[in-house]
Point group: C2
Chain length 138, copies 2
Amino acid sequence: MNIGQAATASGVTAKMIRYYESIGLIEPPIRTEAGYRIYATEEIHELRFIKRARTLGFSIEEARQLLALWRDKSRASADVKRFAMKHVRDLETKIEELQGMSLTLRHLARTCHGDDRPECPILADMALPGYDQPPHEQ
Amino acid sequence: MNIGQAATASGVTAKMIRYYESIGLIEPPIRTEAGYRIYATEEIHELRFIKRARTLGFSIEEARQLLALWRDKSRASADVKRFAMKHVRDLETKIEELQGMSLTLRHLARTCHGDDRPECPILADMALPGYDQPPHEQ
DNA sequence: CTTGACCTTACAATGGTGGGAAGCTCCATA
DNA sequence: TATGGAGCTTCCCACCATTGTAAGGTCAAG
């Protein structure tokens, strides 16, 4: 199985497979005489694992740690669960941030007439001072 | 007002002010004889506007468009509102993506015992095939 | 044997931001 | 007045994850 087939089978582009190899996320595979990378089922599984981790929003470094947990057959499932729940909290923090932005903008938009006239509280608000850092200086 | 004071007044770091200038987001300010950038109240307002737009999750290119709308005193408020609501939809799409990830991980974590034993459905699931692209090949 | 698809490496760009080096300027204090 | 330190200047590099491109080698089908 060469890199193109591995890409199709795993859902990771050939480009990214080479990149993951270059950063040591996956082991360099054996090569043909001509220098072509050859992947076995085992490697495809790893790539799929990585792909799935990325889809779930784990960073590459986190995927690296997950891979380590995956390979370590003797680690406690509690370790994995802790790791996963930490990521869930990270995701939810991010979600709350975005919801804050969305809500603020919705509120602003609601007060905007949205007609031919130029007056617009959205832009007016954005020019207001002291919004990003609440005023708490000396 | 030099760049450091402008940074403090606007909440945008000096570093980023120079960057915004370099990409043409703000106009190059006048300089002292020694080459120091000098900012007036007007520019501080623009920087604050940009900062606020970024805080609300607009990209720099979007901030550029918002600035154009802001400067154009005759544009219809409907244009601004449309722009803002488009961004709200973008934000909500992103939120849904993250919620999908979070939910999936929560479900997986719930089925994981989280004890000393190594069996863990979280990692088992992540190695499963055909998850990221639903199976619809030939 | 040619052609085209695929492989190889290497380098650049993206979006925002931070970090740092090397050199100049300003201002206060000794 | 000299000195020192803070702040300014430009320039280049790093991050993360991914994509694009270019120049060249290889494989398989026609």
